[in-house]
Amino acid sequence: MRGSGTIQVNRCGPQSRPLVSGDMRTISLTINRNRVTSEIPDNRLLIDFIRYDLGLTGTKEGCGVGVCGACTVLLDNQPISSCIALAVVSDGCEITTIEGLAEGEPLHALQQAFVDRGGFQCGICTPGQILAAKALLDSNPHPTREQIQAWMMGNLCRCTGYYKIIESIYAAARTTSGESRKQATPSDPPRGQGEGFRRGRI
């Protein structure tokens, strides 16, 4: 069965840019309290730099488009999606990945709470959940459950249904409330009309 064939030349037209980069640059940053200097191509994504150049595989890749939050790391204490950030933007900055959360043997209060309360099952989203939660507690040490839901809305989990994630964060906040923290920024009002576990009503 032949006739006029259709040649597929794989979605790439004559203007397409090459993929493999020739330019390399040196970046210096602090990652998990360690100073690191590295040579990378300009087009290196931050997640690939962390996982493959530095070998820190605790940061996971899920959706690749910045939606699921599995790749969450803290950049100068702000939660970001490392899968849609370039490695170059970490130059001169501080990055915290999940490996850097616990200082030594004892787990961070959030990690311990997630363990104690079943805040994870398969664990693939867990590093991202914990780091996002850390950013929350840094900015608002006593969040309500609604505030936790609103902040954590961008970290997807398919296993737990979120109930135990919220409880873990709530519990961790109560555990760490005794510690001195840096000045909290004004706490965020809940999204929508905020009625407990209901979705926001307009």
Partner: protein
């Protein structure tokens, strides 16, 4: 063995207390917790081997086409490319879990958009992509068909020329089922009839007959970890795999069979799996990964992008379901007939059975004296479908539970009352003639209704709806366990089961600790690879707590026997005079009683390490079914149609709950998956192409989309799992869509017969 039975009985008597020294019933945190919260846990994509290369595929952009030619010459020459292969470079093998109809790379023909055509191994992902850009494929389009109803017409294009010629594994013995593979209907992969009684007689007895049709689109398992695998070939022959597959031993068998090599040349190594939900039971890219590794002599890693997962993973079967039911004057079911058309996609290879067995639930959880179900699995030029949490059940139960509600409304009965009148009781046989014990249908309905305030007043535009489902706890195939007593009374249990996050290792730890009356911390559970662990079917069909758990109990029994033998030898008495009691082992003969901490004493005797193994294969037909009844309360905005899920009650009849923490985690996770299928998820397929190509388009529920959840557990000490446990993994997601659809109808009188409900 007398000792083991006594033990078990004692535990049963102690159920009410679940007190001191009992680890069963405790909310023990996941044993692998530390690794998961610190980032130490390794998933397939985290595996790094020296010299490892990246594998990537070129995928078809046509739903159905002949491959006229493939030119890989330019791709091969690119720097950093170590292998470029097409089907021409591979032996002519077909892969599958039951039906072997899927090539490793498309051979001469592509049958869905996203089918793999060319594969490369390269030093970087960018280099791989650059190489794929240089590949030229010439296709000649063939007529394609996307809708199963169209595909069954005589004039439909044939997606597989000789479907009857495909090899397959043994037909799974399905209850009351008559299975035909490749029947003489165009593009039908399988046709299964389930029959009980005589529906002609049953319909003749009915005073009214109702017929409704429902449409359920495909949804994706949505695990956050896309499929990944690593293959490494030792020169001289051993092949190592790390893959996101929840049944490592079955994967090993399938790989060995496909490559026609002995199983012991293949080793599948442990990794944590980032979510399964039924979707990680196939080999996916593993065999291809092997051929790339073999071709270039280096380990190769392949990680699907999430776009590739959505496009070419193995999502849930979509279905068109027609129900016909006869009701007598008292509102009781006299007969039921259902036809379920499952869209199989382009290949049947991704499921382990000949049909999607959840279709057998089309009778519902009711007394149905006469039942006939026809389940068709139909090929189309779309993404091949696989298994997902309770395969076939959410579709079927959405249909039957919506149907029940529509009938209730027609005959003027309250939906709860209608169900109470018809739900299975201990005196009834199941819709397929099953004889069940400890039937709790009425109890779960009543408990759910009470917790939901079924009869309480509702504001305008607020509605409540029910769904109910029952399922036998899984129990098929063999599980094994290896238990070693080492120094310091430490016990190590080696299992071949993969960790998909359900907490199965924790349950095993609890069982061993319970059976030996030792602290939890002295028991370590380790996942062996396919060399070091014994055959284990793995996760699936809610079988692990039951089967692996029973294997653990048996192996503990074996270890205890070994210790009793040791005691008998040492004290020079008959073994029959050695008894084990609650917290120590006691030797008794005519003259003396000696209490000995056998575990420590064995170490002192230098008798350790002592290792015992055990296998367990469940006998079919435990005769138990578990019920889950769910009631959703929704508020509908009549101006916008927005549905707010206010509350959800999920009532379960459970056996002994071995670990309330992981058990509840399964319930909650399942409920939210059900909510996703009901309200937010729709894998859109248009003209054969999946258009929901990232998680921005395919909407998984978020932490803000969940309602207040009330869980009611009705505990019975009856179930095939250890300590009379049942199963929970595939219970709580199934009836949620129906409960929500029924609630929406109750709220605003609008009946939605398809999903998601928007």
């Amino acid at each position: 063995m007398a000792t083991a039975e006594v033990w078990l009985q004692r535990l049963r008597l102690q159920d009410a207390g679940m007190a001191v020294n009992s680890t069963v019933g405790q909310a023990v945190p996941h044993v692998e917790g530390r690794a998961k919260v610190t980032g130490e846990a390794k998933y397939s994509a985290d595996i790094m081997l020296p010299g490892m290369l990246w594998g990537k595929c070129l995928r078809s952009t046509f739903p159905h086409a002949c491959i006229v030619s493939i030119d890989i010459s330019r791709a091969r020459q690119l720097r950093g490319i170590h292998a470029v292969i097409t089907a021409a470079d591979l032996p002519d093998i077909l892969l599958g879990r039951f039906l072997f109809d899927c090539p490793v790379l498309a051979r001469g023909r592509v049958r869905f958009i996203g089918e793999k055509v060319v594969a490369v191994a390269a030093e970087s992902l960018d280099a791989a992509e650059a190489a794929l850009r240089l590949v030229e494929v010439e296709y000649e389009e063939l007529p394609a068909v996307f809708d199963p109803l169209q595909a069954m017409r005589e004039d439909a294009p044939r997606i597989h020329d000789y479907p009857a010629a495909y090899a397959h594994a043994e037909l799974f013995p399905l209850r009351q089922a008559d299975s035909r593979l490749a029947p003489p209907i165009p593009n039908v992969m399988s046709q299964v009839f389930y029959r009980n009684g005589d529906i002609r007689v049953g319909f003749a007895q009915a005073s009214r007959i109702f017929e409704h049709t429902y449409f359920v689109p495909p949804v994706h398992q949505g695990y956050i970890e896309p499929h990944a695998c690593v293959a490494s070939v030792e020169p001289g022959g051993r092949i190592d795999f790390w893959l996101s597959n929840k049944t490592p031993f079955i994967a090993r068998s399938q790989i060995a069979a496909a490559l026609r090599i002995p199983e012991d040349r293949v080793r599948v190594n442990p990794v944590v799996i980032g979510g399964d939900f039924g979707g990680k039971g196939s080999l996916m890219d593993a065999v291809l990964c092997y051929f790339l590794a073999k071709s270039c002599g280096r380990p190769v890693k392949m990680v699907m992008t999430y776009t590739e997962e959505l496009m070419a993973g193995n999502p849930r079967h979509s279905a068109v379901i027609t129900h016909r039911t006869g009701i007598d004057r008292d509102g009781r079911i006299t007969a039921r007939q259902a036809k379920i058309i499952f869209n199989c996609g382009a290949y049947g290879a991704f499921t382990p059975l000949q049909t999607v067995h959840g279709g057998s639930h089309a009778g519902g959880s009711y007394r149905v004296p006469n039942l006939e179900i026809e389940a068709l699995r139909v090929y189309t030029n779309t993404v091949p479908r696989g298994h997902m949490r309770a395969p076939g059940a959410p579709q079927t139960v959405f249909a039957v539970e919506s149907h029940m509600d529509m009938i209730a409304h027609e005959i003027g009965l309250d939906p709860l009352e209608f169900r109470l009148r018809n739900v299975l009781t201990e005196a009834d046989k199941g819709p397929l003639g099953e004889r069940w014990q400890h039937v709790r249908g009425q109890q779960v309905l009543a408990a759910a209704a009470k917790a939901a305030g079924w009869d309480s007043a509702k504001r305008p535009c607020v509605g409540r709806g029910i769904g109910i489902y029952d399922r036998e706890p899984g129990g098929f195939g063999q599980s094994s366990a290896t238990l070693t007593l080492g120094a310091d009374s430490k016990l190590t249990l080696v299992t071949g089961a993969a960790d998909t996050g359900t907490g199965s290792y924790t349950v095993l730890q609890q069982i061993v600790a319970q059976e030996l009356q030792v602290p939890l911390e002295s028991v370590t559970v380790v996942q062996g690879n396919t060399d070091t662990a014994l055959f284990e079917v793995g996760a699936g069909g809610s079988r692990l707590t039951h089967t692996a758990g029973q294997a653990a109990i048996v192996v503990v029994g074996e270890l205890k026997q070994a210790l009793l033998d040791l005691a008998a030898q040492y004290f020079a008495i008959e073994k029959a005079h050695v008894r084990s009691v609650r917290d120590a082992f006691v030797t008794i003969d005519g003259r003396r009683t000696q209490r000995v901490e056998l575990l420590q004493w064995a170490a002192e005797l230098r008798a350790i390490p002592i290792t015992r193994t055990a296998t367990y294969t469940p006998k079919p037909g435990a005769g138990i079914t578990c019920f889950a009844a769910q009631i959703a309360e929704v508020e509908v905005d009549p101006e916008t149609g927005q549905i707010t899920l206010c509350k959800l009650v999920t009532a379960h009849d459970v056996g002994t709950v071995i670990n309330p923490l992981t058990h509840q985690g399964q319930i909650e996770g399942g409920v939210v998956q059900g909510i996703g299928q009901a309200l937010t998820e729709h894998l859109v397929v248009r003209d054969g192409a999946v258009t929901s190509l990232n998680l921005g388009d395919y909407k998984l529920p978020t932490a803000m989309d969940i309602p207040g959840l009330t869980t009611v557990l009705i505990e019975t000490n009856a179930g095939p799992a250890p300590y009379a446990g049942k199963a929970i993994g595939e219970m709580s997601n199934v009836a949620v869509p129906a409960a929500i659809a029924n609630a929406v109808f109750d709220a605003v009188g609008v009946r939605l017969i398809d999903l998601p409900i928007t």
